[in-house]
Symmetry: C3
Subunit: 645 residues, 3 copies
């Protein structure tokens, strides 16, 4: 199903019913409204103005549309901030930030919790049982603009309490953090400060705990909203729209409090910002890298425990990336189909119409600011038609699982050890290499059950907890661990028996030394599948296992014990590709290297193909296959769907 | 005429008369003094010491020199700052800056206005009617070191008043800024803050208004000085020395308050700092890019309504650029002649003698710190001789006008949309391509009369006001508009009928979409003159006009309606060159591509040629032409002057 | 002799005697302990806990080891900082920094002086006469993390007093700083502030004086500790461990207060951070640039007036550089031998065992965190064996002296004039070119006696004081001065008679102009030895001397008067190499270009060879020479020693 984000407050009231009519006519089902409207709903402290929103919802309902109502807490009004300046967050540099953008609040602020409770309760009371309201979105893009981590006094207070709950006694904290080092011993929890503005680097356990705390504060804040909404809106869903390539926040715990996850899909901007090779950035500047959208579909499907929406789908050039190209013709349709192929329940375009004023005036919509339909409008029309002719079977489990650890980026941010080490880049490399082989991938958090997967990829899992270890044990496929897996314990110590720590139960080896390398220094790696290169990271392994791959000096780069493998380097895409081909075949899969811009995706018996590249490709299908969309020759930016024989 | 900047306070008194004698002997007419001397004129609060300045002026007068007296307000003394710390500016990061450099004051500070009134009045009373004082310079290089924009409490107060005057009611402001977006609605002007330290980007209308306000505060401050000086110094001129490639300040309104504009010409430093291609930076490291000085002469001639001085002319290596090369031999003479060819009334060298201490000790002068004449001295001698043999006709109107919009850099600073979009770079590209074709260019502000110009270049004019539109209507030459022209209204909204907004009255087309591109992504553009490339920026145009140039996908890149053209891309120099050749020929001009380092300039019947390149060039002159300086073969760094046949 | 850094407080007590036994067994003589242990020694204000340290020292003593005791002042405990927040330093941006790293104190804080006095006295009283304590290390790595320069109120007070002592009257300061420039005149010392957060650049004399002051505050602070230790620990040495490529602190005055200097040798990290050509960084990523360790040995031998230790020797990958490669096999042994060849009395490895928690957990040691010996352990074993078979003659004077001026980096930091001008880079170029010719180099401060040196290199000495001038006069070898020598006087003025100022007594020439160039702009230089290039910097010289080298425009680049030479450019390595070959030969030396990775070093009659390169080299030795270690073919990362014939 399709939807759209709509801001009635930006447009003349006389326009609303016409807009609603055309939404319905286009075939949209859902309309998200209200998520930045606090100052309009409460123009003066305590004076609520519901009239306009009542009317907007009524107009949409009348046209047969369902409403998704956003809570307006991402934008506290000026009067509120002036009354309680403590709401404003303090940044890492110790500067109190100001009103004038959005997300100008601290997640730990008691008074903001109070105000949130007040406005969300009012909203829930008024719309919780409204028949046209399908559900709620809490706030908007938690953490955007670097707001997960605040360094104010309230956060310091809350952090101290959090530590006290976690550790019970200060001696336990001192032990856990290793404060014997550099005389950092604390006598009371009151002595602990936030880890910013230190003269030398702060204690890594201190930093990691603070990142955990900050992420949990967001969950706590979100839960406050969810509980109110559940109380007032029985039977309605509650979701939140997460972001792309964003790691300050662990989305999985929030996902547990939601009915399903949503995410905001901007493939071009994400491609411009992600650390990819320059030539890929240029090649995919107008399409997005072919794995960017799918990666997040797979991630947020897991966050939503199988259910997710694309709450905001890029419909044209956006306004916020360093470069904002026009999507290649057909891409909005392609992105929509790909979301559906990956299991999205709804794809909702951001936004109905480009707004001609304020911060986002250069962000395209389905319509231009002059009310005429924009290019994406016609692509959506086509999707609606095509959707009508095709019924989508329920999505199944993929053959490959990739373990994504939301804590890992924090660990590596605290101690990257090498300037180019980037967790997301490594994960994306594993994901992308698998997808280039035509393999569907489920992304799962550490500890998730792994039964049924032929192949499990663990690009890097620094902290291996009992639950994750058990899941690996009980996995019935091959499990490949990447570098630095098991390299830290819960407290950010090197494990007593050395890395990979608890994984030694599966892999009898010890990582006795690691190194990070400048990008220009490559290491050759050789094995039965050929000669490859690695770089950026290498490990020295002590083991009785005999290596499957060796570095130029003869030492091992890849080890195997039963169905578990350990890769002691940051691989090149070629090396990883050759390795995954072998493992997938062994797992009974049929990996086939695809043309660089082509991607496939199974949903039940339907196979979807997406051509992100500028060249026509011939699809790897047996003759006589039944096409439901397109055919065996796929033009650039085109989609095909066929039934698996 | 020639002049020099002189700091008698830096040198022993016994040296003054010898210096004055040698100035006169060299042929200088004007001497600028006093512009940083507050602490010497008022060593203690209220205790004035005029003796030394009286004597200095007397010594210069005795030698037959005219004095330009600077007001000393760029450097308030320490005691003043200690007494009123609120004078000190606050930067974008919210940090109160300190005494110890210069320009350490806020333009909005009421107490600094008071102190300025006091010291300028005293100066006006004492020297306003002095026969040797030709005129005054207010302050020095307003805005240098990023000081146009201050973020202090006083500025916040003043900004609120400014907004109240501009908008009358807060509802009008809310409408103008589109504060319905992101709940930014204000209830009173007192609620509006300065747009720094916001969590997400500030509202663009808010930012633009603040940039306008900040620039106007400078004008207001300058007018305070001008009015006092006019009152006490009837018949004397008042000027100010503006800077190069500096856009925080709109110089045109200030120009209206002055008798003429002045500017400080440092071609080498500007070339090092300007975003030019690396190879041009190296090629012209010792000469300055051949269009840098001329561009500013043409700009400030407009600011001074036809009259300008070069108040500070680079005489050797300077101290402030990332690299400070020695000018190629002859360049000081060349720069002087070029300033005169462009209409400068006076070229004044900075400085008489290199000072061996403090911040500028590495800045060359006409003399070395050991009193010996430096290289530039001899070049000035030569200019004086040559000037004696040549009488300069009054400068006339150029055949080409370039519309330079001081507000445009603010608009694009607020929303560049593409990381490399830079208004100055685009303007300089248009200017330079025209100059490479041997065309003289007048720079004019939007709204200036355009009659008599064969060709009008508008590299980009985002906000097109009524007056500017009328000027385009009444222009009698061809008018070429560049990308993003008419893309915003006065309030920083996209115009209702889409860009180019009011220009649609001249060009029946709509820009329905734009994109910014990374530098590596080039677009081909083809038309009757050949095949070229564009990049960084592209627009999609809806129109019945048939395009003169097309992108590779067949869509139009250049449109024409009558004598108006619209270019929907950031052109390569080659593309723009081919286009300007065609348009200039159509306008009855004879554009001729010049060797890369050669530039020509007409002043009345005299033609000046300047060779910025390291190779000899043969001038494009008919045989038998009468040379007044040099001849038809022009050595590197040489000047020639001939009479037009 | 060899030693090790050990933190008994990080390990279980039951481990201590085993550790001590194995240290002794390995052949170590010294163990440094205690330098970050304040919070353990004084867990509550005034409650001292000596028991653990008493025991640790006893255990080490029992094993026959000598203890070096560090004062714990680099890490004041949290309770101390909470009691006196004024101890915390303020950075250049005006931000009070926080507890949580190390070195979180201001060198000017009176209360921290008091607390230092208290804890050091207690330490001295307890261990000053302990038979196993060989000596003391004061604090740890003064200035690390940018802590030499603090911008707090206490520093401002102290700076004002320092200025008053230096100048006596404010008029003298005004004259010395040239505050007549930009109205910076001060009326009292109380008016002078610290030179941060100024709007334009601060006065250079002000900055230089502040950098001098800040460095002297460290010396004063160190002397406070030294005096207490000398009083309580008669006959014990006192040293401090300095850092590599660190210029905020002048180490020579501190050296005068110490018995000998120590330094912390991390060749890989220093190579990664130093501005070297990219290809050299990659070539030597796993060995360190071949001149990095030697340069510091030679420097700190001078600081220690002939005596130095390597207090911390890198034993494997470190944790703090942008990239942290594994040292090539053999490098720990090579570095140790090279330190000894250069005169180190003790080489002490950092650390006995890698600690598995806190900030430095990724820093290798002689043992892994799991107690097993790490790679370096075995290299140290080999050194111990080899050392037993070789008695080292006392080190002698090198044939070449290089004058290293600790004030020069401050001068050039204040006014680099060219973006790439870097004093350390120029010094290292001179050093490295000499070493590549097989020449041993003594590094000496300006003013040191120069008798006995065949060649004296002065890469750049901006301020030439009487004592330095006399040393040059009395030198009996050839003296080569590099660019900008003599370019400033004591007060940061250009000398009255122009540069090279006082050096004009030796070299009758005047530098009348200088320029800095972008890296892409090269100048050719030609002379009897061929044609070379220079860049970044060029000077114009007025003199009757006829140049030995000329720039392409015919002007002189190298001048000579008797045994003094002046080089008026930043030379390429090739140019400098050719020049040094000629001068060394003239001085009776036999310079021979070595393979790029090979270095030689004489100690008495023993010649040491070190192969930093990845290729085997054949040593330039006469046949029949007697090898004491290795032989004439030197494998990569190998060491050879032979007796000079
Ligand atoms: Zn907070
Ligand atoms: Zn201000
Ligand atoms: Zn301080």
């Amino acid at each position: 199903m399709l939807g759209v984000c709509y801001y009635p407050e930006h447009w003349p009231r006389e326009r609303w019913s016409e807009d609603a009519r055309r939404m319905r006519e286009l075939g949209l089902a859902y309309v998200r409204v209200g998520e930045f409207a606090w100052a309009l709903l409460e123009p003066e402290p305590g004076r609520l103005d519901w009239a306009w929103l009542d009317e907007a919802v009524a107009v949409l309902a009348q046209a047969g549309l369902k409403v998704v109502l956003g809570t307006p807490t991402a934008t506290p009004p000026k009067w509120l901030v002036d009354r309680y300046p403590e709401i404003l967050p303090v940044d890492r540099e110790g500067r109190r930030r100001r009103f004038g953008g959005r997300r100008h609040y601290c997640f730990s602020s008691p008074v903001y919790h109070e105000e949130t409770r007040r406005i969300v309760t009012l909203l829930g009371e008024r719309y919780g049982k409204h028949p046209a309201v399908a559900g709620f979105q809490t706030d908007n893009e938690y953490g955007c603009h670097g707001t997960v981590r605040c360094y104010c006094e309230r956060c310091q207070d809350a952090f101290r309490k959090w530590l006290e709950e976690r550790y019970g006694s200060i001696d336990v904290l001192n032990e856990a953090w290793g404060t014997v080092f550099w005389s950092q011993r604390y006598r009371t929890f009151q002595e602990v400060e936030l880890p910013n503005l230190t003269v030398a680097e702060a204690n890594p356990s201190h930093l990691l705990d603070y990142y955990r705390f900050a992420s949990e504060q967001v969950r706590r804040y979100n839960r406050l909203q969810v509980e109110i909404l559940r109380a007032h809106a029985p039977g309605k869903f509650v979701t939140h729209n997460f972001m792309g390539f964003f790691t300050d926040l662990n989305p999985f715990p929030l996902g547990e409090d939601l009915d399903f996850a949503s995410w905001d899909s901007y493939p071009l901007g994400f491609t411009d910002l992600m650390p990819l090779p320059e030539e890929e950035k240029l090649r995919y500047a107008r399409t997005g890298h072919p794995d960017v959208a799918a990666f997040h579909h797979d991630l947020y499907r897991a966050v939503g425990r199988g259910r997710f929406w694309v709450m905001e789908q890029q419909p044209g050039p956006v306004n916020w990336a360093p470069h904002n190209p026009n999507p290649a013709p057909g891409m909005v349709r392609l992105w929509t189909w790909e979301a559906l192929a990956n299991g999205a329940e709804v794809v909702s375009y951001f936004r109905w119409r480009q707004v001609p004023f304020a911060q986002e005036q250069m962000h395209a919509g389905l319509h231009r600011p002059d009310y005429a339909p924009d290019a994406a409008f016609f692509e959506v029309q086509r999707v609606v038609e095509e959707l009508g002719a095709l019924s989508l079977p329920p999505p199944g489990q993929a053959p490959v699982a990739l373990v994504y650890d939301p804590e890992a980026p924090w660990v590596y941010e605290v101690q990257p050890h090498g300037a180019e080490w980037n967790y997301l880049a490594l994960v994306f490399l594993f994901y992308s290499v698998a997808r280039r082989l035509g393999l569907d991938v489920d992304i799962v958090p550490p500890g998730a059950a792994l039964q049924g997967y032929r192949l499990v990829l663990v690009p890097s899992l620094p902290i291996v907890r009992e639950k994750a270890l058990n899941a690996f044990r009980e996995a019935d496929g091959i499990v490949l661990f990447g570098p630095r897996s098991g390299s830290k314990n819960e407290n950010f110590h090197i494990p007593q028996g050395l890395p990979p720590g608890p994984l030694q139960a599966l892999l009898p080896l010890k990582v006795v030394r690691v190194e990070s390398l400048p990008p220009g220094l490559r290491e050759e790696v050789e094995g039965p599948w050929g000669r490859f290169s690695s770089g950026l990271w290498r490990e020295w392994v002590e083991t009785d296992l005999s290596p499957l791959l060796r570095f130029a000096d003869g030492l091992g780069a890849l080890f195997r014990a039963g169905r578990y493998l350990y890769l002691a380097a940051w691989p090149s895409p070629e090396l990883l590709g050759a390795l995954l081909v072998g493992l997938a075949q062994e797992g009974g899969l049929s990996p086939k290297p695809l043309p660089s811009g082509l991607r496939l995706r199974w949903r039940g018996h339907l196979v979807f193909a997406f051509n992100y590249g500028p060249e026509e490709v011939v699809l790897p299908v047996p003759s006589g296959v039944r096409f439901r969309l397109g055919g065996p020759r796929l033009s650039p930016y085109e989609v095909a769907v066929w039934e698996e024989g």
